[in-house]
């Protein structure tokens, strides 16, 4: 019964529905990429700087070296979603662990954890990501970890707040009385109840990660072996006088993806917190 209620509430938000559908399209593109565009998207396949529509085999045109932009957009969907998901996973892992421990144990553990979170919130996040990537090298792993490191604090705070609220409830006290270990209580009892709002936040972190990754690639610090949307925007920057479509098209892709993720986040929020609806 609850499940249907959730979906129904989600679907009532038309924006969220549209967002979810679009993301499915993007995800589908990501899955289908190797089949529909089997050639490595970074391969040079045509004359450089062809406008969209100028050559029938390249519906979105070619870039400065002669690579197929449509292929790069479709394959880029893959890279973008994967990076977004993995970075969000890293952030969620760190954030939930830190927040759970801080919220459950309280006291000086809580104080220290919050100081550390404040530390990471004080360092301007993109600057930190750029510095990490510039120093440690432009590989996909480094980028994912760097984004995860700057994104965990909001998840930690939320988790902490949830744990603070839940740890004094009767069911938790009952578990303690039964002699359950702290770990079991945290992971088995409180966490499942604390997760819903965290999931909403995680979806927004995915959107943030997509924006981070595109900024990093735009500045030329992305992995050169990956067809990233941000890198394409950066490549097109020198040619905005004559071939501005090279920068325009991938930017639209990023915007649509981030928009959909935000709409989904809104929808999840509405679905999980029906009382706060009607704003």
């Amino acid at each position: 019964m609850e499940r249907f209620g959730f979906l129904a509430r989600f679907a009532r938000n038309r924006g969220a529905l549209a967002g979810a559908l679009m993301i499915l399209v993007v995800a589908l593109a990501a899955l289908v990429a190797p089949l529909a565009f089997p050639i490595d998207p970074l391969r040079i396949v045509g004359a450089p700087e062809l406008w969209p529509g100028e050559a029938p085999e390249f519906p979105l045109g070619t870039d400065s070296l002669g690579r197929d932009i449509l292929a790069m957009i479709v394959h880029g969907a893959r890279a973008t979603l994967l990076i977004g998901l993995f970075a969000s996973a890293v952030a969620t892992l760190i954030g939930v662990s830190a927040g759970a421990i801080a919220g459950y144990f309280g006291g000086w553990i809580d104080e220290t954890m919050m100081r550390v979170a404040e530390l990471f919130q004080t360092i301007p996040n993109l600057i930190f990501v750029l510095t990490i990537v510039m120093i440690l090298g432009s590989t996909l792993t480094n980028i994912v970890i760097a984004i995860g490191i700057v994104s965990w604090t909001s998840i930690a705070r939320l988790t902490r707040a949830e744990f603070l609220a839940l740890r004094d409830r009767e069911f938790v006290q009952a578990c303690r009385a039964m002699g359950m270990s702290n770990l079991r209580i945290i992971v088995g009892e409180i966490l499942p109840n604390a997760l819903p709002p965290v999931i909403v936040l995680s979806s927004l972190v995915v959107a943030g990660a997509v924006l981070f990754e595109s900024a990093v690639s735009f500045l030329g610090l992305g992995d050169p072996n990956v067809a990233s949307w941000g890198r394409l925007i950066g490549d097109g920057r020198q040619l905005i006088r004559s071939s501005w479509y090279i920068s325009a098209i991938p930017g639209v892709a990023v915007m649509v993806t981030v928009l959909c993720l935000n709409l989904i986040g809104d929808g999840l929020n509405d679905a999980l917190n029906p009382k706060l609806r009607d704003r």
Binding site: D40, L42, R43, I44, P48, S64, L65, G66, M134, G137, S138, G220, P224, N225, Q238, L239, I240, R241, S242
Partner: protein, 532 residues
């Protein structure tokens, strides 16, 4: 004795005419006096106005207007005296007598003397500016107030010595400013005092250098202009916009992107030229790390080059402002370049055949072996070339892992750690091949930790011996023959060869006269430039 050029002679005559106080009506082509020139170049601000070791093109551009060298090379190829009147070899070519010009003063009023030359050669050139070239210099002496004698422990060819005196940062610096200090950190490097046509006035960091006319310049009647400003603009689009708005008159070394070059010249208000870079030709090079046993056989190395379409790189990555390179000595080098070398033309089939023959057939997954390709990230073009080369090599069955690290990481990985299998880097060499070109291919060129040296690890007894003979051969014809042989060996061995030679472009407003008249124009003093 080397000559004073006719140009200087007539310029002197012109000057006397003007100084006479009459204001003649200037016909077109008659230099106009006065005004301020605003110049820029295709890179960024230097770390200091003058860097004793060179420090890259930016400080060379800024310091060459304030300092001068003993000699200069003209567009026609002659060597002429600048701060020297001339020079002559001894009969055994183990020493050279240089006659110093009289009446030259530094910007602070002190005379330039033989002591300054001796100091510069001993402390600056030998230690920083031309260390590799001066390994055989045994001493510099001043037997009298006008003469400096350079002594070598081996016979030294005249072309080599003349090139030395024109060395890009072989300036005569004031001993009274630099003696007893550490030249690298001397504060005068940010406000240099030299003998040049321009005097340092101000450095507004992040913006520009301002130079003013040296009224006591030894070339009477020069410079024509009152002031020169070197402006630094971070991005090429900004430079193009500034030039269009008339705020910058001339930009050297590819100041704007290729599409903008066409756009600016189409307005008729600007001219673009590739003249002025003959002594400073840049190339994009491709080298194999012979420490990897795969590259032991020269056929494998040749195959790498056969797989690459250099014309594609020239056309697409450089928009046509480059040409395929064939020899370690570049084609504008009239003295020594030869086209009669072993060619590694674009021929993927031949590449595949060579690899098969060398014992590297395609395995089940289509790959023969996998290599690490490092494209030095200091130019964006290198990254693009890296992406293309990766594709080209994968097409002949060589798996490639591409990295495009930033400048310090690239320098470290290529020239210190030798942590690469294939590398895309850049070189800029003068006409004299020793040591700039030869040190990429000899055993004494392998210097761990020093950038832009022999990183491929290639050396053979044959080439080492040949280069040693080239260093001491004083007969010009014999020397050329040896250098031709050198090119033929190296192109056949293919350890490190240019992919393309870059065409550097100067863009200038049509108002600017007398520019691009030196074979290394970026490093010239611009004493005779004027604005119409």
């Amino acid at each position: 004795m080397t000559n004073v050029t006719r140009r200087e002679f007539s310029a002197g005559a012109l000057a006397t005419g003007v100084v006479g106080g009459i204001a003649p009506a200037f016909a077109q082509g008659e230099p106009k006096r006065g005004g301020t020139l605003v110049a820029t170049w295709g890179g960024g601000e230097p770390q200091a106005c003058y860097v004793p070791a060179g420090g890259g093109s930016s400080p060379i551009f800024s310091s060459s207007k304030l300092f001068e060298r003993l000699g200069d090379r003209t567009m026609s190829g002659e060597f002429v005296g600048e701060l020297a009147e001339g020079w002559k070899p001894a009969a055994d070519f183990k020493s050279y007598v240089v006659k110093l010009r009289k009446g030259v003063k530094f910007h602070d009023g002190k005379d330039m003397t033989v002591e300054d030359v001796v100091y510069s050669a001993d402390e600056i050139w030998r230690k920083f500016a031309a260390a590799a070239a001066l390994t055989d210099l045994t001493g510099v002496e001043a037997p009298d107030a006008d003469t400096v004698v350079f002594k070598f422990n081996k016979p030294t060819p005249e072309f080599f010595f003349s090139s030395l005196l024109c060395g890009v940062v072989s300036y005569v610096v004031p001993k009274h400013i630099y003696a007893g200090t550490d030249p690298v950190t001397n504060p005068a490097n940010n406000a240099p005092i030299g003998t040049g046509p321009w005097k340092f006035k101000e450095w507004v960091r992040g913006s520009h250098f301002e130079y003013v006319k040296n009224d006591a310049y030894w070339r009477k009647g020069y410079p024509y202009l009152d002031r020169m400003i070197i402006r630094y603009v971070r991005d090429p689009a900004g430079r193009a916009a500034a030039m269009e708005a008339g705020e910058i008159h001339i930009g050297v070394f590819n100041p704007v992107a290729p599409p903008d070059i066409k756009r600016l010249t189409a307005t008729g208000k600007f001219a673009a030229t590739s003249k002025g870079y003959e002594e400073s030709v840049w190339s994009t090079s491709f080298e194999c790390n012979l420490r990897n046993p795969i590259f032991e056989k020269r056929e494998v190395r040749q195959a790498m080059f056969h797989a690459i379409d250099r014309s594609f790189i020239a056309k697409t990555v450089y928009y046509g402002y480059a040409r395929p390179g064939t020899s370690p000595i570049f084609s504008p080098n009239k003295e020594f370049f030869t086209a009669d070398t072993y060619r590694t033309e674009f021929d993927p089939k031949k590449a595949a055949a060579l690899l098969d023959g060398a014992g590297f057939p395609k395995k089940a997954d289509g790959k023969r072996f996998t290599l690490n390709l490092l494209a030095a990230g200091w130019f964006t073009e290198n990254g693009k070339i890296g992406a293309y080369v990766k594709q080209a090599l994968e097409d002949v069955g060589v798996g490639i892992n591409l990295t495009v690290p930033d400048r310090p990481t690239s320098i470290k990985r290529i020239y210190t750690d030798y942590d690469f299998d294939l590398a895309i880097s850049n070189q800029s060499n003068p006409s004299e091949p020793v040591p700039a070109t030869t040190q990429y291919y000899t055993s004494d060129g392998i210097k761990k930790g020093v950038p832009f040296r022999n990183a491929s690890g290639f050396h053979t007894a044959e080439v080492d011996a040949l280069v040693e003979r080239i260093k001491v051969e004083t007969d010009a014809a014999k020397r050329k023959a040896m250098i031709v042989e050198f090119q033929q060996i190296i192109t056949r061995e293919a350890p490190n060869l240019p992919l393309v030679e870059l065409e550097s472009i100067t863009v200038a407003s049509t108002k600017v006269q007398n520019h691009s008249n030196d074979p290394d124009y970026l490093a010239a003093s611009w004493y005779d430039i004027w604005l119409a």
